[in-house]
Amino acid sequence: MSLASLISPHLPVLTVLLPAFTAMLLVLIGDSRERLVLARRIALASVSLGLLLALKLALDAHGGELRVYRVGDWPAPFGIVLVVDRLSALMLVLTQAVALPVLLYASGGWDSHGRHFHALIQFQLMGLCGAFVTGDLFNLFVFFEVLLIASYVLLVHGQGKERFRVGVQYVAINLAASALFLIGVSLIYAVTGTLNMADLAQRVPRVTGDEALVLQAAALILLVVFGVKAAMLPLYLWLPATYAAASAPVAALFALMTKVGVYSIVRVHGVIFGADGGASALVAEPWLLPLALGTSALAVFGALAAQTLPRLVAYLTIASVGTILASLGLFSTAAWSAALYYMAHSTLVIAALFLLVELVASQRGDADSRLEAGAPVAQPVLLGLMLLLAAASAAGLPPLPGFIGKLMVLQASSGHEAQVWIWIVVLSVGFLTLVGLARAGSLLFWSTRPELAGTGTAAGASSKLVLATIALLVGGVAMTVLADPLKRYTDAAAAQLTDHRAYALGVLGGEGIDTTLPYVFPRPAAGVPAGQGTEGGP
């Protein structure tokens, strides 16, 4: 048996194990000055390998293969399953594609500002990859916690008063969200007797009457939880201060974290409580679209009012999440495809912007990242062109992928009753994004104070930092060149999400589909105090 055929069935779990073991290795190596180079190499090698792994999974998924990995070979829905469909594979590729340049950037010096940076990044990647491949709601919670714990420590990387202040708030709001997550998950379990996503998609439609109300409450509690992670109105207030306080590579990586919330909304509210959800169908629909449009609109005003560069980019993150969620809120395959395309693009651009604004700020002397006239930067042409590209991309100017993504969203909304609102919000958010970034650009590069020249770093940014930022920008631009195959992929991914039967067949196997609802255990004998056993509970 060749090595390839030995490894191949285990690829889904390897996406989680690779960062996990790399992280442990990095902790063992430590991060003393002389070992830092070794740690960097290992981390970069591991993420490169992870990217290849993710690409391989995406290519396989593109062919329509649904990879199901039963951990310990326990049959679903009783054991833990990892499922890689087109959506999961896309998220994996996106994760690694953002992580690789971010790691390269961090290797330019940020990783020496605190301890165990590389190990924590790997733990974060483990949580992200795990959340994207798991086929079980409770496991989703566990991987959420893994990535959150890593993010708590990464947020305060580099230390400082401001980071600890927002750190406490960030941890508190996430712990509260985790408590709600558990409540939602256990309510779903109480009604359906399962937490396997494929099994849930089969059972939720069959729940009726009062139990359906409990189920809907649970779904909306989960919407709150995912809304906190994705930074949806009115739950985004934690994000600007947090992302602005984090060090640049960490903030760039955090651009992925909001997408975990978006991904979970797709899986839970798009698929399980989707159009086929019976009495609980489309329970999130009345909320998602208005809240998403409101998120976008308010965030872009925040971007216009921002006083510092990282805060500006943080608000743009929220604005882009609003656009993605609005597209998801249309609940059609075309709109979902648009949302996935736009999500991939906006994550790359936002990550690039976080890195870029730090490059710019480091050359502005005392003005640093504040949006006021400061010393002229040492590399105005290079950084200016990069900011122009990123701004045009984020605002959605043709022919950049931001334009294609927004066009897809607008097209998908045609015929929808809220079409006018979607067009107004998406287009004006694009315009105001451009205004905000143009204001920042002119302050940074034109409205400078030449008498301060020389107070900033004269040497310019190191090639490693510039290269990492350009890599992210090029990734974004490449999405225009590859728009056609990518759109076909996202179309297929969205179509696959609506095909419950194929998903259930793949995950549960032939007999699993018809497992009785719910698992009927012997009813308690008369005289035993037995709660609500009469409703046929687990």
């Binding site: 714990i149 305060v156 941890v171 308690p524």
Partner: protein, 113 residues
């Protein structure tokens, strides 16, 4: 007395949650951490209760007629472990924030200062 057990557990969870929410909304990090811990406890009992309240029922399939659902117990164990770790972390973080800013107010400065 079938009703009373459910009523007791439900109102207990509700009361603890209410206290937790109240404490979490305070301005100092110590009550906030306590509030989060209380909410964690309430949620753990809640998960446990979602497997329904059984008495005298083993969680293993055997000879008994009645079998309690063992899964919520496994879920609650995971939740307890995670909750314990995060509580430990948030205490350490709050302490560090106190050292950095010289105040334990969550805004990093005394109100009015």
């Amino acid at each position: 007395m079938n009703v009373s057990m459910e009523f007791l557990v439900a109102s207990g969870i509700g009361w603890v949650t209410a206290c937790g929410v109240f404490l979490m909304l305070r301005g100092r990090s110590f009550p906030v951490v306590l509030g989060l811990t209380l909410i964690g406890y309430a949620v753990n009992v809640f998960i446990f209760a979602m497997g329904r309240l059984w008495t005298g029922a083993p969680p293993i399939i055997g000879n008994g007629e009645v079998i309690a659902d063992p899964l919520p117990q496994a879920l609650v164990l995971t939740a307890i472990v995670i909750g314990f770790a995060t509580t430990g972390f948030v205490i350490e973080l709050a302490l560090r924030s106190h050292h950095e800013s010289g105040t334990d107010h969550v805004d990093g400065k005394e109100p009015g200062a």
